[in-house]
């Protein structure tokens, strides 16, 4: 199977989706001739024309609102927001319209759109370019929130997101765009939007994460292995709705859990998972569910960002503590 980076895998999925369905339209700032600032849409405008691969004016609210209007007319728009720090003007459209158009009209109008955006820090980008506020999105009923952590999952999940009849926010770990490489078969096969991926089986502790933090989480599992601790590593992949049964099943086995995410701790999506575990799995818990997260401060610019993001060491230390708890 051919190797692809995350960028290439997403590009393949977009091309495939546009190929097989003339209703798929890609829009956003610089997605055309420039192929996106990360080159994710490279070549698409040439292949599918400027009407279907469309450079919008610089206006994020507009991009999200256009998607709603297009989708209501039966197109399948895939909007791009250049960085997650610029997604906030879309929230009105996501909360008040995209996520509820089907419900508001009792199924008469629907909103099969995807909004893609790079997610997270770690590439020494300028101010406001390092956001990871997936928890806000996960709170919105009617939305789906997806975040792949490998090229293959990016390909399969994006295809699923585009084919899904409801609105999906698709978060792309910026830090993995070029760093993550893996085999991707461009076979048009999608992956389920409600399934977590068990990346590694283990019986002592469950480590759950998503997006770029899977990297440090997996590395922490390696460290733990050398201590004789067998960690099960779960990539949540879809945050909303998330796959409780895989997660709770794992915890039924291990009794211990560390949740890792890059976003600020307070009211981050880790809280939802920890709360769910605490409510449904208390009897099987052998130790407190622990979150290793970004800090409750503004994510610093490039010079300090590495201290903000959970490190392998922080994760491993927390996991050891959880394992020692009795």
């Amino acid at each position: 199977m051919p190797e692809a980076t995350l960028v290439e895998a997403i590009n393949l999925a977009l091309g495939r989706a546009m190929e097989e369905d003339p209703d798929v339209v890609v829009l956003g700032e610089d997605v055309g001739i420039n192929g996106g600032v990360f080159r994710v849409t490279a070549g698409l405008q040439k292949r599918f024309g400027a009407e279907r691969v469309l450079d919008t004016p610089l206006a994020e609210l507009l991009i999200s609102g256009l998607c709603v209007g297009m989708a209501a007319q039966g197109l399948k728009p895939v909007g791009e927001i250049q960085f997650m720090g610029f997604i906030y003007p879309c929230l009105d459209q996501l909360v008040n319209h995209a996520s509820r158009l089907r419900n508001r009209t009792q199924g008469r109008l629907t909103c099969p759109m995807v909004l893609r955006t790079p997610h997270g820090a770690g590439i020494r980008a300028p101010e406001h370019h390092s956001e990871s506020t997936e928890a806000m999105l996960a709170h919105i009923p009617g939305l789906r929130v997806v975040i792949p952590s490998s090229p293959a999952r990016a390909y399969g999940l994006l295809l699923a997101a585009i084919r899904d009849p409801d609105p999906v926010v698709f978060l792309e770990p910026t830090r993995l765009y070029r760093a993550a490489k893996g085999e991707v078969e461009d076979n048009g096969e999608s992956m389920p939007l409600d399934r977590a991926f068990v990346m590694r089986a283990g019986r002592d502790i469950t480590l759950v994460s998503w997006g770029a933090m899977l990297k440090e989480t997996t590395a922490a599992a390696d460290t733990l292995a050398s201590d004789g601790i067998a960690a099960e590593v779960i990539d949540l992949a879809t945050l909303k709705p998330y796959d409780e049964s895989t997660l709770l099943g794992s915890i039924a086995k291990t009794g211990r859990c560390v949740i890792v995410h890059e976003a600020a701790r307070t009211s981050g999506f880790g809280a939802e998972i920890a709360a769910d575990i605490a409510e449904r799995s208390l009897p099987s818990l052998l130790a407190p569910v622990t979150r290793v997260t970004g800090y409750d401060t503004v994510i610093p610019m490039a010079r300090l960002e590495q201290y903000y993001m959970p490190s392998v060491e922080r994760i491993a230390t927390a996991a050891r503590k959880v394992c020692q708890f009795s």
Binding site: V68, Q73, D92, Q106
Partner: protein, 366 residues
């Protein structure tokens, strides 16, 4: 212009103008030569009947609200010519994106009055439009947020080369929202088949137009989007119909978007939750009663012998009957079961939320 003007020695590189449209004067006399369609008596009478129906429908809705049988309701008293003039100039396949005060447009488009009542009672089923154009958007409550949808719809229509037009309605207050500006600017770039219409009823709840913008016309807002705007007497249904028809025709012919400012007046309270006497004088309202659209068109029709007292009485009876029957059908609508609040959340309810639906249905999970 209010402020000191830009250095007058400099050369002018662009000029713009705003025109005004009015055919029927407030007393029903002819202010300027009428457009051709006015020779179609059937159409004029249909416009008249529709406006009268809207007014009675509004009155009934308020009565229902006052007696606790309807939720907050937004009357269009004084603005009937806007909704009706616009809707009557659209084709069925065109797409309407209405604001919450455009009952008249929905009714003309064929939405059942009982569905409109159902919506205002706080029931999502009111947006099903079981008999109207299935592609129309429901009332939009977040002010101005429907404008980007209109641009998206129009883009889809253009992409598919369908000869259809998106018609987007909003108020003077909405013109202050970036949503509307961003959408119009985009429509300009792609010469989309879209018509944007601002109903300038002078007030956004208690905020008068002069606190909304320093512009002397709203029509000039289109200049910033790179296309033409015109100002229309929005209490003159002939002018509204004519302006909309021209704008839609141009849009349908691929000439791009248009903007219309419909100048009218909200004779009623903002909604049934509002008390307009707190912020505007009775005199101001009284003065505007002289311009209202129904008496104006009636005066014209009567002067042309196209309408009689008997017609009026018959119409009143008919409208009364239709409104009462609609109200009865509305009141007889069986309530939704609580768990149905999950039924149109997603195409298929994810298992993660299915247990919540079961809880609401009184089925307890094992």
């Amino acid at each position: 212009m209010a402020s000191r003007r830009v250095n007058q020695d400099l050369p002018v590189i662009a000029r713009f103008e705003v025109r005004h449209r009015n055919y029927l004067a407030p007393d029903g006399s002819i202010a300027r030569p009428l457009p051709a369609f006015t020779s179609d008596a059937k159409l004029l009478i249909a416009l008249y009947r529709s406006m009268v129906f809207v007014r009675l429908f509004d009155r009934k809705a308020v009565a229902l609200q006052r007696t606790g049988r309807l939720g907050t309701y937004a009357v269009s008293l004084g603005q009937e010519a806007v909704s009706v003039g616009i809707a009557s100039a659209m084709r069925e396949e065109d797409v309407l994106l209405p604001s919450y005060r455009d009952n008249g447009a929905l009714l003309w488009r064929g939405v059942k009055p009982e569905e409109i009542l159902l919506f205002w009672s706080g029931d999502e089923r009111g947006n099903r439009f079981s008999s109207g154009p299935a592609h129309d958007f429901p009332f939009c409550v977040p002010v101005g947020s429907q404008a980007p949808h209109a641009a998206g719809v129009a883009y889809a229509l253009k992409l598919r080369k369908e000869p259809r037009v998106a018609v987007c309605l909003f108020g003077d207050g909405a013109t202050s929202k970036g949503d509307v500006y961003e959408a119009m600017n985009f429509a300009g770039v792609h010469k989309l088949p879209a018509v944007f219409i601002a109903t300038n009823n002078q007030w956004a709840i208690s905020v008068p137009l002069r606190l909304q913008t320093a512009c002397e016309t709203l029509a000039q807002k289109a200049i910033a989007a790179g296309f033409a705007g015109e100002q229309v007497d929005g209490s003159d249904v002939v002018a509204m119909h004519a302006a909309t028809e021209e704008a839609i025709a141009a849009a349908r012919d691929g000439e791009g978007p248009r903007f219309i400012e419909a100048v009218t007046y909200r004779l009623g309270d903002h909604t049934t939750s509002d008390d307009a006497s707190r912020y505007r004088s009775v005199d101001e309202v009284q003065a505007h009663w002289k311009e209202e659209p129904i008496a104006r068109l009636r005066a014209y029709l009567v002067s042309r012998k196209m309408w009689s007292k008997a017609d009026e009485e018959q119409l009143a009876a008919e409208c009364h009957e239709r409104v009462e029957q609609a109200a009865e059908r509305y009141l007889a609508t069986a309530p939704r079961r609580p768990e149905t609040m999950f039924d149109h959340l997603y195409a298929e309810l994810p298992e993660a939320y299915a247990s919540q639906r079961r809880e609401l249905a009184g089925e307890h999970d094992a």
